[in-house]
């Protein structure tokens, strides 16, 4: 599908979805509460078939956080970027690791480094850092006087 056709299909799925200027791919902004149902439709609806989650990450902004999901379809070869805004205080969003298995590790990584809680995640623990680590290192206000070298 072309970006225009995707836009139409996504608007039909979720009328509240807003579109942002993407350079290469269609960027969709949704509410965090809509994510789980929307993800299921993106994955399973014929014609969309977004079966490959190739990047899952988070961006920490001064006033909020953005979850960013890069999805592509190995059938139709179209790509979409889905973004959801989260509160900086106690950020939380539904897990999608039952839809895309790769999300299990990626969500653990985001939890580890940003402190985003993923509802219903089967095994939400720190992944890269030790279990007793304090704080969320990839947040912009993170300070670590011992391990961080300011350049």
């Amino acid at each position: 599908m072309t970006s225009e056709a995707l836009k139409t299909a996504i608007t039909a799925l979720l009328p509240e979805a807003a579109f942002e200027d993407g350079r290469e791919w269609l960027n969709v902004r949704i509410e965090a509460k809509d994510w789980k149902a929307f993800a299921e439709r993106l994955r399973y609806q014929p014609g969309l078939d977004f079966d490959y989650l190739f990047c899952l990450t988070c961006v920490d902004w001064p006033a909020h956080m953005d979850m960013v999901y890069h999805l592509t379809s190995t059938v139709h070869r179209h790509t979409v970027v889905v973004k959801a805004k989260l509160e900086r205080e106690d950020p939380a969003i539904d897990t999608v690791c039952d839809i895309w298995r790769t999300a299990e590790f990626h969500e653990r990584e985001v939890y580890d480094l940003f402190g985003v809680r993923f509802n219903d995640h089967p095994d939400l623990r720190r992944l890269l850092l030790t279990d007793d680590w304090k704080g969320w290192p990839l947040r912009k206000d993170y300070e670590d006087p011992v391990n961080m070298i300011k350049l």
Binding site: T74, W100, H106, L113, L129, T130, K150, L151
Partner: protein, 371 residues
Amino acid sequence: MLEEIGKTEEGDLIINIGPQHPSTHGVLHLVITLNGETVKKVEPHLGYIHRSIEKMSESLSYRQFIYATSRMDYLSSHINNHGCALCVEQGLEVEIPERAQVIRVLMGELTRIASHVLWWGALAMDVGAITPFFHAFRERELLNDLMEETCGARLTMNYMVPGGVMFDLHPNFQRRVHEFISMFKSKIGEYDELVTNNAIFINRMKGVGYISREDAISYGCSGPVARASGVSCDIRKLYPYDIYGKVQLEEVLDDGGDCYARYIVRMKEMQQSLSVIEQLIDNIPSGDHMAKTKAVLKLPKGEYYSRVETARGEFGVYIVSEGKMTPYRIKYRSPGFSNLSAIDHMARGQKIGDLVAIMGSLDLVIPDIDR
């Protein structure tokens, strides 16, 4: 740990492989639940070499952060640099001279051969054959020498920079690549004789660590791991960058889905890489090796994503820029991270001895996973 033990049944055994274990090729730590010799669960514990390159990159300029990426997948450092350079170039909107594009692709494919050769030797060693490891290092040494002449480094290349490549090719480059090609062609036949058609090796690899096409996609596998399950995912073919669109390159696919299929895919990929090198080595265009860029690079506000095919799969660079000298956020999508997440799925129900073969067939590079 105690909680995990609580989940197991009576008679189960939990053992640790790594972080210091030769078959993990680095500091990977697997906690394995066993019932007798049968694997019930594999749980990777990561982070022993986590340096938070993403956080570091936030305080480095667009020229500097590329140096850190050589230290992720150190066997594909050229290709990591390539991905980062492409991502920065998207924002700079510079035209890359054709000479630089050809050099980048040549270096990328030589790197792929060097990486696959090392993997071949290491995999054979993992399943009990020592000799191939020495053969592999002999060939890889030639490639390292060849790179050293041009790049000045043998492992962390830092050769590809925004705008092109850092130095022009060494005068010996073409001659030495030709020498390598003619030598390596005879060696590939030797590899097959030694390992590929070896009955013991086939027994260790065939039917082990199966993953279906659907699962490979769902787990986000890429590179030879996914292609061995029949997933067409070669970034060089699907989303060609630099001059990959103009060279003859066949995507190697296999539908075996097991360790042997992954082995065969990588062996055939080496020949594809050789073919790309042969197409380009005598046709390197003359001209500049670097486009003119400003001394201080700034990307316009926005988001940039580039994807390249490393020896292990899809490497993605996601840059969020606020228009400053340093990126606001960088995410590296490393192929090994997703490939490793499928290890539990592949190993369940297999014997513990097969786990080593599965790990070997995934071609893990730990700094690439931990970043």
